[in-house]
């Protein structure tokens, strides 16, 4: 079943894993590498930051990541305006030689919720410039439809605030988004544990993106494996056609043939 042709396709590129993971907040590069490995992810997000020119001792993330194996997805984390985000994407493309970007334009520091007005502005510019834009957005079907109309390669509604671990707070809006857009829907942010990821996939989402849920666990590498299994479990369950929910019971053993 899993072996089959159930691929995630983004902007014409095929991926076997539906789990995307971040590279932030790990105790060490070694731990990060092992966690990514355990997660089975093929797409990994990175941030774009100034080189520390006074202290060159620091090691480079790219020394640890096999670019033949992983697709880098640079983000615009920390940007609060369309301009900052666009500028960051341009730098990311030059640094990474790929046009995939995870577009974030944040609304405030407490919630890290998107500023969808600025997000739409940035998305328009970046799509025109040929970027493959994966926007982090609210679970707002109207904004998602606009992002699709602009030409984004996917929409990435949040399940809950970044790093909150609250899971999919509003499965209803996610279902409506799935019913509204044709591009892949990837839940980005909010996943705290394996069942959260499974639930996202069971709703019919095309993928899940997470960082803190893995990196912040007591055992990040084991949690990465848990998320790997959970995303596959949820996807398979979605494809397998679950039983309907009923208030009352149905026996699983036959009635006939009871001894009397």
């Amino acid at each position: 079943m899993e072996k089959s042709a159930d691929k995630l396709i983004i902007a014409g590129r095929e991926f076997n894993s539906r789990l995307m993971v971040g590279t932030g907040k790990y105790a060490s590069m070694e731990q990060m590498v092992k966690a990514i490995e355990a997660s089975g992810a093929e797409i990994i997000t990175v941030a774009v930051r100034r080189v520390n020119i006074s202290d060159r001792s620091q090691e480079s993330l790219l020394d640890y990541i096999d670019l033949k194996k992983y697709t880098l997805l640079p983000n615009t984390a920390g940007c609060y305006t369309a301009d900052e985000a666009v500028r960051t994407c341009r730098l990311a493309r030059e640094a990474g030689l790929s046009d995939f970007v995870k577009l974030e334009v944040l609304g405030d520091e407490r919630t890290l919720f998107p500023d969808n007005e600025e997000l739409l502005k940035a998305a328009k510019i970046l799509v025109k410039e040929g970027f493959t834009v994966l926007p982090y957005t609210s679970d707002d079907p109207i904004v998602c439809r606009k992002l699709e109309d602009i030409g984004c390669a996917a929409v990435m509604p949040l399940g809950a605030p970044i790093g909150s671990g609250l899971g999919i707070r509003n499965p209803y809006t996610i279902r409506i988004i799935l019913d509204t857009v044709k591009v892949p829907v990837i839940v980005d942010a909010g996943v705290g544990t394996a069942s959260d990821a499974a639930i996202a996939m069971e709703l019919g989402c095309d993928g899940v993106l997470m960082n803190t849920g893995i990196a912040g666990a007591k055992e990040p590498i084991a949690m990465a494996e848990a998320m790997n299994l959970a995303v596959r479990a949820g996807r398979l369950a979605y494809l397998s056609g679950r039983i309907p929910k009923k208030l009352f019971a149905t026996a699983s053993s036959p009635i006939e043939g009871m001894i009397t």
Binding site: R49, R50, V51, S60, L61, P74, E94, I162
Partner: protein, 65 residues
């Protein structure tokens, strides 16, 4: 001459962007460079001279979500 690199003022002799990167020990393939708010393509590093008062941003990928 003085230039501003990643927000800090630096003192350096006239040279190319590539020369400067090498001088401060940065692998050009691992970074992106913005000169006075314009992105430089990697091919331009060797041919672009730094001038007095230039504002340079040198960025790389770091861990993020």
């Amino acid at each position: 001459m003085k230039i501003t690199v990643n927000g800090e003022e630096q003192d350096t002799d006239p040279k190319t962007v590539l020369g400067y990167l090498v001088e401060i020990g940065i692998d050009p393939r691992r970074v992106a460079v913005e000169l006075n708010m314009d992105i430089l393509e990697k091919g331009e590093y060797a041919t672009t001279m730094l001038n007095e008062g230039d504002k340079v941003e040198i960025v790389q990928f770091v861990g993020g979500g």
